[in-house]
């Protein structure tokens, strides 16, 4: 297993290198000149040129890339052109918000998606199946900026029962800790802040989970249906085992393999930041930050954040593959298989 993990990590290196080259080139070829953004309305051509030279933007693109790569390998992702703050600091001040929302959203999506998918498969053709298909269709079809706004209008604007955005009442925000407010407030025993944080995360988590839930529901349903048609399930039933027991112990566990992959990939994409959700719900994560940075031609921030997202995807994929072995004892990651 260890050899497999090491091999996968080594395989990730060319992936991340390729990613960094693509992002680097795209930003330099298609983005506007950052000097005018950074120096503002009063900047003269001479001031802009001085700034470009000071920031290494007048060197050849190969030299620029090698400088970036050398710094990145030393753990230095550079400094934001716009805010003059370390990119690592900027990312880490926003990443916990993205992680917290992604975790809650994937839990909601997984629990609801698997339950709906299983019910739809077990009761194929019934009302529950129709309902599940409808929910999945709505989840896939309805854009978050629409469903999110509807939720805000209903629960915040009309009923006034939930906040419209943000992570927590700023005056209740925990200081220090992990940056995951639910965890931090729970550990510190500050239940007023915990309740407030939970209030704030309800709507964005629900809105964000809709799409993932729909995907998981459909995958669970089709995987379950396929498994329920297998010979060993028929055999188990023929032996006289109760239907529920067969569904749970024989069918569901085997149907979970492809669903695990989907959940893993969905979680990876949620960790990459959810631009629309973060924008609609004023959620302070990295999704919106990276898009804002693209618009401001803040090269170091975009490069650093995309690299981080790339690493996250690689790690999540690796974890999913390892979980495969856990869920299916037949799978072994031996040297031969690798």
């Amino acid at each position: 297993m260890l050899r497999y993990v090491i091999k996968r990590v080594l395989q990730a290196i060319p992936v991340l290198l390729g990613l960094s080259i693509v992002v680097f080139l795209i930003m330099r070829v298609f983005s506007a000149d950052p000097a005018s953004v950074v120096l503002g309305e009063h900047a003269t051509q001479e001031q802009m040129q001085a700034w470009r030279e000071a920031n290494g933007l007048t060197a050849s693109i190969v030299v620029q890339y090698l400088n970036f790569l050398g710094s990145a390998l030393r753990g230095d992702l550079g400094t934001s052109y716009y805010t003059h703050t370390s990119v690592t600091t900027e990312i880490m001040s926003r990443f916990p918000a993205t992680v917290e929302l992604a975790i809650v959203a994937i839990i909601v999506a997984s629990v609801l998606g698997i339950v709906l998918g299983v019910l739809a498969a077990v009761h194929k053709g019934s009302f529950v199946d129709g309902l599940s298909t409808f929910v999945a269709l709505v989840g896939v079809s309805m854009p978050i900026f629409w469903s999110g706004v509807l939720m805000i209008i209903l629960f915040a604007g009309t009923l006034h029962v939930l906040p419209s955005g943000g992570r927590i009442d700023p005056l209740l925000a925990p200081v220090g800790g992990t940056g995951l407010f639910i965890l931090d407030t729970l550990l510190s025993g500050d239940f007023e802040a915990l309740g407030n944080a939970l209030q704030h995360i309800v709507l964005p988590a629900l809105a964000l989970s809709l799409y993932s839930m729909a995907i998981i529901t459909r995958m669970t349903r089709s995987s379950m249906l396929e498994t329920l048609g297998e010979d060993y399930v028929r055999t188990a039933r023929a032996k006289g085992l109760p239907k529920g027991s067969v569904d749970r112990h024989h069918a569901l566990r085997n149907a979970m393999l492809p669903v695990t992959t989907v959940i893993g990939l969905q979680f990876g994409s949620l960790l990459g930041g959810a631009l629309l959700t973060e924008t609609v719900f004023a959620w302070p994560g990295i999704g919106k930050y990276v898009v804002d940075s693209i618009l401001k031609s803040d090269f170091p921030v975009v490069q650093g954040t995309v690299l981080l997202i790339g690493v996250i995807f690689v790690v999540i994929n690796l974890i999913v593959d390892i979980v495969y072995a856990y869920l299916d004892p037949r799978i072994k990651y031996s040297q031969e298989e690798g």
Partner: protein, 535 residues
């Protein structure tokens, strides 16, 4: 055996996950029944004002920023040697009790206020004020200080500060390279000029943790989320100390979301709204405050393009556009027709300036005679503070007028950053642009057409007589003689039809009905020290 252990483990894992999910759902459902909000969480009978704006400040060191979001926070924390009156850009004493200007307009002597401390306990005195300004002067100035050259000048341009001295704790002497009447207004600006703690500046963290002498102290900044300030209990001016115990700035990108946050009690004041949401704010029972802005929204003729080299051609184009009608229909009363480059509240002497009058028949015949049938226009796709409807809608309105006189105007639109590059490239006949005033001085508006830098002078206009007037205006003391200089400048711009002035937009704020006492200054910042909130 191993298999059984694994099975139990998996079962426990699933049970644990189910318990967590159920617990979360329970907690969420339980919380859902509570009243949302909490922006005004009271402590010891005091209150909090929550101000929602579109985005984070770029930073909180006045030397390093140029954006309105930064200014909104900084004006609560820092103070300047001089400050603006509440409703105009006339200056009055701030951290300087008084000042004297030498007859030649080159030496400024400030009497520095005593008994003032920075939030970090450092004493404020003339040396501290000197250090705050000196770090932005050459050679200490770095290339990423956006307002340093504008505010304090440069050696190469032969303007700004030649020397600065603090002979004792209460005296600050500044000598200029050339007389500049705008210098005093510059010192009251919310960029570059606020006086920072020398101790904090040396620490290098000022951009994240501002330390000034103002009525509010910085507490914390959660990026993309909020900034917290608390009242400075040791503030030197007891009559103008902060009323609210806490000020919270929240960052909510979407205008509609800010309106909902206001309605839901999550914010007390919201900025960055336009006329599209005014009725929504009012229908929610909240209030809209509007005030004249210090800006100009204009169409610039490229005076170096083949078809608009002459004033006659530019005038013929201008006659085709009914600007008054356009402004009324496009901005629905939230912008005023621009009779002149400067808003009339800034320059009342400009009320008699005559722009080209709308005359489509004359425009049609004159444009035809000049052979102008196609015009290449570039514009920006986003809304700007001086044009809430965005450049595209504005360009399309003008395009409609031109089509009526037989001219086909093509429109290329860009996002704002790309647009500035396109303007620099100069491949257009007309472009849309605008200007937000910095300091209320006429030079700040009128010199746009005298500089060689095409990032500012997008019309690429060059007129020696005009440049001489601008130079004269800058060194002439405030008064009727100076007003006359800028009046002449306005007349030249109108006669040469360098721009087609369109509108001056209004500044809008939304606020709860129980909130009052804030000052929405023409420079578009909001002073919150006297803001109160009734129960």
């Amino acid at each position: 055996m191993a298999s059984t252990k694994a099975q139990i483990s998996r079962r426990n894992f699933v049970k644990a996950m189910a318990a967590v999910s159920a617990g979360s759902a329970f907690a969420l459902a339980g919380c859902g029944s509570q009243r949302a909000g909490g922006s005004s969480k009271s402590a010891n009978g005091d209150f909090t004002i929550t101000f929602a704006q579109a985005s984070d400040p770029r930073g909180l060191d006045p030397a390093m920023v140029d954006d309105g979001e930064s200014a909104m926070v900084m004006v609560q924390v820092y103070e300047n040697l001089l400050q603006y009156e509440d409703d105009s850009c006339a200056v009055k004493p701030g951290l300087a009790e008084s000042y004297e200007v030498s007859d030649d307009g080159l030496t400024y002597t400030f009497k520095i206020r005593t008994g003032v401390k920075y939030h970090d306990g450092t004493d404020f005195n003339a040396a501290a004020a000197k250090a705050s300004i000196e770090r932005q002067l050459e050679p200490q100035r770095t290339e990423d200080m956006p307002y340093a050259a504008f505010t304090f000048g440069s050696e190469a341009d032969g303007n700004g500060i030649a020397s600065i001295d603090a002979p004792d704790d209460t005296t600050l002497v500044i000598k200029l390279r050339a007389a500049s009447t705008a210098f005093l207004a510059n010192l009251a600006m919310c960029m570059a000029s606020p006086i920072v703690s020398p101790t904090a500046a040396e620490g290098g963290k000022l951009n994240e943790s501002p330390v000034g002498t103002g009525p509010y102290k910085f507490v914390s900044w959660t990026k993309n989320s909020d900034i917290k300030l608390e009242r400075n209990e040791d503030y030197w001016d007891k009559d103008n100390a902060g009323k609210a115990k806490n000020i919270v700035f929240r960052f909510i990108a979407e205008s509609a979301s800010r309106v909902t946050a206001l309605a839901n009690g999550e914010a007390d004041i919201i900025s960055g709204i336009d006329e599209a949401v005014v009725s929504q704010v009012e229908n929610n029972g909240d209030k809209v405050y509007k005030t004249d802005g210090m800006n100009i929204n204009y169409l610039a003729f490229n005076t170096q393009s083949e078809i608009f080299k002459t004033a006659d051609a530019r005038k013929a184009f201008a006659k085709a556009v009914n600007v008054q009608e356009l402004v009324d229909s496009l901005y629905n009363g939230y912008a005023t027709y621009a009779n002149s480059v400067m808003p009339l509240w800034m320059a009342p002497y400009d009320s008699d300036i005559q722009q080209a009058q709308y005359d489509p028949d004359a425009a049609k015949s004159e444009l035809a005679a000049l052979g102008i049938t196609k015009v290449k226009c570039i514009t920006y796709s986003v809304s700007r503070p001086y044009n809430g409807k965005g450049g595209t809608a504005l360009a399309e309105s003008v395009q409609g007028y031109l089509s009526k006189v037989g001219v086909d105007m093509t429109i290329d639109q860009f996002d704002w950053t790309s647009y500035k590059d396109a303007v620099q490239a100069g491949n257009y006949d007309v472009c849309f642009y605008g200007w937000n005033g910095d300091n209320g001085d006429p030079d700040n508006f009128m010199n746009l057409l005298s500089v060689d830098d095409t990032a500012m002078n997008v019309a690429r206009y060059s007129n020696d007589e005009y440049k001489a007037l601008i130079a004269k205006g800058l060194s002439t003391p405030a008064g009727s003689e100076r007003d006359d200089v800028y009046h002449q400048c306005e007349q030249i711009v109108a006669e040469d039809q360098v721009w087609l002035p369109i509108s001056h937009s209004q500044n809008l704020l939304g606020h709860k009905a129980n909130v009052e006492g804030y000052v929405y200054h023409p420079t578009a910042v909001v002073f919150l020290r006297n803001c109160t909130k009734s129960a």
